[in-house]
């Protein structure tokens, strides 16, 4: 059992402790500078009531929901599955090229990909506007949410693609063949043969990518939450409030709210997973 100890120490100090500290800080009026920085006072649940009543927090939460639904669930999982499905019994250069490009988007450093997208979407000289013959169309100013949703889809699809690729190998080809000969359409094959078999994989994948997307900070490097907070998802909101704005206590309270939302999200998925196991037993 001594083997677990070093890992637990590191996790304890750099993961659990900060999490507990977040809860404590959320109850204070701690600030980065000024009087409250030297001598923070306990203010109880004031930060929480303030956050829950804050218009900017509501907007940010709603934007985050759009971000997770659009880029993780529809974008990454949907596109990832489609690619895995289209490539399922293929070999050769087509598969290698498509998979290679998708993976490349995933393994490049986030600072680099952020810059690639700024270059792609630039108003006057961006490659996209040059291709579409729409010079001067300001993607990042007029459609900031759409931009970061498409960006995050591009960025993270590889994980779902690989996971579903592995999952689809578990579906016996004979079952699909039977369904096809019986005249089942692709949609029917997916619904009746494929999905029931890979339901566990789908749920685990959705859980992981939802959590990752919910807490993703890369979009900060593209839009910084702007313009006028129209792409200010929760991680960016916390950064802007706590570290740029200096309201550390308030930021910690929002962090804890995010933790709670994530917990609920995880419990829902685990519940669905258990439901599946119960049905099998």
């Amino acid at each position: 059992m001594g083997f677990v100890f070093p890992a637990l120490v590191l996790i304890g100090v750099f993961l659990i402790f900060p999490a507990l500290w977040t809860i404590y800080l959320g109850l204070t009026d701690f600030r980065l500078t000024g009087l409250a920085a030297a001598d923070p006072q306990i203010v109880g649940v004031d930060n929480y009531t303030a956050a829950l009543g804050d218009e900017r927090f509501h907007t940010s939460l709603w934007l985050t929901v759009q971000f997770v639904l659009g880029s993780a669930i529809i974008g990454q999982a949907g596109l990832g599955f489609s690619i895995a499905w289209a490539l399922r019994n293929r070999t050769g250069p087509v598969k290698r090229v498509v998979e290679g490009l998708v993976l490349l988007a995933w393994i490049l450093p986030s600072s680099v990909v952020a810059f690639l997208w700024i270059a792609l979407l630039d108003r006057d000289q961006g490659t996209l506007n040059a291709l579409l013959h729409m010079p001067g169309f300001a993607w990042l100013l007029d459609h900031p949410m759409l931009s970061i949703i498409v960006f995050n889809t591009w960025r993270g699809t590889a994980f779902s693609m690989m996971l579903y690729g592995a999952a689809l190998e578990n579906v016996p080809p004979s079952h699909l063949e039977t369904a096809r000969l019986a005249g089942a359409s692709t949609f029917q094959q997916l619904r009746d043969v494929v999905f029931p078999r890979i339901r566990g994989h789908m749920l685990t994948n959705l859980l992981l990518i939802s959590l990752w997307t919910f807490n993703d900070f890369t979009s900060f490097q593209i839009t910084a939450g702007g313009p006028e907070g129209r792409s200010e998802i929760l991680p960016v909101y916390i950064y802007n409030v706590a570290l740029s704005g200096g309201r550390l206590g308030f930021g910690a309270a929002v962090s804890f709210l995010v933790l709670l939302i994530n917990l609920v999200l995880a419990l829902v998925y685990l519940r669905l997973l258990r439901g599946r196991r119960g049905a099998e037993a």
Binding site: F17, S111, T127, W154, H175, T178, H201, Q221, I238, A242
Partner: protein
């Protein structure tokens, strides 16, 4: 072979003549499907390649703009990049931080995953899920404030060690989660006979378990290196001096005095900064096969 499979094969073998007509429409549909599939794959390849074009052309262009275009070929950008004093040190810093974290994560995760896989403790899976959940939240922005405070008090601000420890703490739960499943899949009989001959747990782990789960360890190592290599927020917050900053942070300092981005430097540095992870990925996937095992599957 189960009854269901036998039945399926019987159906596959004997297609009754009454189904011939349906098979015809099936063939048409199959052709349509193949065309649709090819179009879809071409669109996917285009979508994923488009943003990458600029990275392939701009570094070699004498007058790079933000548009990807056929370059006026030059290698001067690489020379002017090397004139920047922080560029090479930042790559060294990235290597240091990534390697340090990867070693720490692989070693600690292997030890912990082995113990958790062989010893039955009630609530073990629940604990792993909670840690996994915490890690995805805490390594995001949520705990930036406490992490900053913690590093300040432990005198870890502006040190490589601070970055390595913080990032490793965040990566460990997922690493343990994935590795534990690799371990669960290995048979315990060899370990038992080794134990009979008096091998210590550490010897068993090193000589018997590690060779078997090498692909898993390689996957974790690549994943850890790639995560640290790309991480921006933690070093951005914890490091003060540019001599210690990794490439991810330095990339954001490559601006002219007027504040506009130096495209020649940024594109060239981006390419240089991306190459190591891409090469490492190719190397490991050739050698061990980069793949996900059970852990994620269930």
């Amino acid at each position: 072979m189960t009854v269901g499979q036998e039945h399926d094969q019987a159906v596959t073998r004997a297609v009754p003549p009454a189904r011939a007509a349906r098979a015809d429409t099936g063939r048409v549909r199959h052709a349509m499907g193949a065309i649709g599939r090819a179009t879809f794959l071409a669109a996917v390849a285009g979508f994923f390649a488009l943003p990458l074009l600029w990275l392939a052309t701009a570094p070699f262009d004498a007058h790079p703009t933000i548009t990807a275009s056929f370059p006026e070929f030059t290698l001067n950008n690489f020379r002017s990049l090397l004139d920047n004093p922080y560029v090479l040190t930042s790559l060294g810093n990235s290597v240091l931080q990534a390697a340090g974290s990867a070693v720490l994560v692989v070693v600690l995760a292997a030890l912990a995953a082995y113990a958790l896989s062989r010893v039955r403790i009630p609530g073990r899976d629940a604990l792993l899920y909670v840690l996994l959940l915490l890690s995805s939240v805490v390594t995001g922005t949520a705990a930036m404030v406490p992490i900053f405070e913690l590093a300040t008090r432990l005198n870890l601000i502006d040190t490589h060690l601070g970055v390595v420890l913080t990032l490793s703490g965040g990566l460990l739960p997922a690493a343990i989660f994935i590795l534990k499943d690799f371990m669960d899949g290995t048979p315990t009989s060899y370990e038992e006979s080794a134990r009979v001959f008096g091998a210590s747990p550490l010897q068993i782990l090193w000589h018997i378990v590690v060779p078997v789960i090498r692909p898993g360890l390689a996957t974790i190592a690549v994943w850890a290196v790639a995560s640290v290599w790309g991480s921006f927020l933690t070093p951005f917050i914890l490091l003060r001096s540019p001599e210690k900053s990794p490439g991810a942070v330095i990339l954001y300092t490559l601006y002219t005095e007027g504040g506009s981005p130096r495209l020649d430097l940024i594109s060239t540095f981006s390419l240089l900064y991306s190459l190591p992870v891409v090469l490492m990925y190719i190397f490991v996937s050739r050698k061990y096969g980069f793949r996900f095992h059970g852990g994620i599957k269930r």
